[in-house]
């Protein structure tokens, strides 16, 4: 039987709503993204205000795009964490209201896990080693016995943070990843920057400080962007390669916002080939935060019997990927 899930994403910049059916068809995907003032980072309460003001239109837009009436929705899902408290509470409030008004079950979705599930859906990866890279995450994980196990992770800031903070300091627009990628394409010379791999873990704060130091010395911003990307991605690629050799998985899946970066994709593709694994990168349209990832994960959870009472649907700003009890994967 066809079931429709309406998913709401609101962990950080993006307020997104999407309607997805249990056969994996994404019927709509509407987003409105909060953009902080130039040179500023995300301000949680401003972002939450943004989400509040656009929620109504985004929901109507997603229903319209899907050609669905509210009554045809079978289940409501929202991103419950990890993320910024004020932002999460907007999505949660909207989801609870819809759930009560439409008398439909409510499902909590872990945002990180949703990146993995939408990656699997759009690529067909079945049992991959996952490289999850975004503003909120930089982790390497694989599934076993109802849990995603973390093999490696950043010990301080994420890849997304690294590029955002660098971009902000040198006057580039945010999100920083695409800007650094554009500038870096014109750089040639590799500047000596600290390379920090600890087992399968990485740490980026030292790299950020060093890159900013070079910038203040007057090094070409093109070369600096080029070098920052090379070093940051090589570190993560190496950690991924170590994990791949250790786990001996036959699939490597790249997902999350930073997955759209071509250079990083080519590095991981090369590693996968070297270890006889198939490489998959999440469909570019769903690498960034979206309601679609939440709706898809929501319907998977719902079909395995996971729902929550409205009064127990509290947000979890620090809900780690490896704390989720996964009931729908074998």
């Amino acid at each position: 039987m066809r079931r429709l899930c309406l998913g709401i994403e609101s962990t950080a910049h993006t307020f997104g709503v999407s309607v997805v059916s249990n056969d994996g068809v994404i019927h709509s995907d509407v987003r409105d993204i909060y953009v902080p003032a130039a040179g500023r980072g995300i301000h949680p309460s401003e972002a939450a205000q943004h989400h509040n003001s656009v929620a109504h239109n985004v929901i109507l837009g997603a229903l319209k795009e899907a050609g669905t009436k509210p009554r045809e929705i079978d289940v409501i899902a929202f991103s419950c964490g990890p993320g910024l408290g004020p932002c999460l509470r907007v999505g949660a409030t909207v989801a609870r209201a819809l759930s009560v008004y439409l008398r439909r079950p409510l499902v909590l979705v872990n945002h990180a896990l949703a990146h993995i599930e939408i990656g699997s859906l759009t690529t067909g990866a079945r049992d991959p080693l996952v490289v999850l890279v975004s503003g909120g995450h930089t982790a390497i994980a694989a599934y076993a016995e109802r849990r995603w196990r973390i093999y490696g992770e950043t010990e301080d800031i994420t890849l997304g943070n690294l590029f955002d903070m660098f971009a902000r300091e040198v006057g580039l627009a945010t999100p920083g990843g695409p800007e650094v990628e554009k500038m870096g394409a014109q750089g040639k010379e590799l500047i000596d920057l600290p390379y920090t791999v600890k087992g399968n873990d990485v740490a980026y704060s030292g790299l950020l400080s060093a890159a900013l130091r070079e910038y203040r010395k007057g090094v070409s911003l093109y070369d600096l962007c080029f070098s920052l990307q090379e070093v940051a991605f090589s570190m993560m690629a190496e950690a991924a390669e170590r994990s791949l050799a250790h786990t001996e998985k036959k699939e490597l899946l790249l997902t999350g916002g930073v997955a759209a970066n071509k250079r990083f994709q080519s590095m991981l593709e090369s590693i996968a080939e070297d270890h006889n694994a198939r490489f998959f990168a999440v469909d570019r349209r769903f690498s960034g935060d979206s309601g679609a990832q939440i709706a898809w994960n929501g319907i998977l959870a719902f079909q395995s019997g996971v729902t929550v009472k409205v009064e127990e649907s509290l947000v979890k700003p620090r809900w780690r990927l490896d704390q989720v009890d996964v009931t729908w994967r074998s």
């Binding site: 196990r149 093999y151 490696g152 301080d156 600890k198 087992g199 873990d201 050799a245 250790h246 090369s270």
Partner: protein, 212 residues
């Protein structure tokens, strides 16, 4: 020659060297990395590995003997150690055996730390059990010298991560046994400082909460 094992960063070949069975460890160029970064990493790790394996040996931590260092080709020739990787056996051992093995792992890590050596990549893939009573530590490419509790803490944190991810069924008990052996080697005071660091490092990571 075809490698008998292909690791993450090196190909391993078996060979005979003046009548001894040896392993040739060749750190191969990685095409995905910028060539100058790649060369720098391969050479520095080859040297580190040789130096620090030797030093570990002097501190009576079982490691393979290094016979040849070929810096230019980022290649080492070392003693072949016949045994089983801990990764393969840890989950199968009886809990008494497992406790014994893990205490011993903890002691070897402690011995390294006593001479200010940080392994840098402690996983069960990098430990070999020999003759049922020795644990050899290998893969010293990320090792370095430090007396800081922070660096020692990261070392144990990586060990804990490897147990949590790969040996999740016995992660808790094995880490506890390792801590027992570690304390035995480095002393109570030092051990409790470093183990406190391990928790600190974990909480510093993404979305960990002191309250959880």
């Amino acid at each position: 020659m075809t490698p008998f094992k292909k690791g993450a960063e090196a190909n391993l070949y078996l060979d005979d060297w003046y009548g001894r069975k040896v392993v040739i460890k060749n750190r191969v160029p990685k095409v995905y990395r910028h060539p100058s970064l790649d060369y720098k990493l391969r050479v520095s790790r080859t040297i580190r590995e040789a130096e620090n394996m030797h030093e570990a040996r002097k501190a009576s931590v079982p490691t393979p003997i290094i016979y040849i260092i070929d810096k230019e080709n980022s290649t080492l020739v070392m003693e072949y150690v016949q045994g089983t990787r801990i990764k393969e056996i840890l989950d199968q051992l009886s809990s008494e055996e497992r406790d014994k093995v893990c205490q011993q792992i903890g002691r070897e890590i402690g011995r390294l730390h006593n001479v200010s050596l940080i392994h840098g990549d402690l996983t069960t893939s990098n430990m070999i059990r020999v003759d049922d009573d020795k644990i050899f530590l290998i893969d010293f490419g990320l090792s370095f010298h430090s007396q800081d509790d922070e660096d020692k803490g990261v070392d144990l944190h990586l060990m804990k991560r490897a147990l949590d991810s790969t040996h999740y069924r016995c992660a808790h008990e094995t880490m506890r046994s390792i801590a027992v052996g570690y304390e035995e080697a480095v002393g109570k005071e030092s051990a409790s400082r470093v183990l406190r660091k391990v928790r600190e490092i974990e909480y510093r990571g993404r979305y960990f909460s002191q309250r959880a």
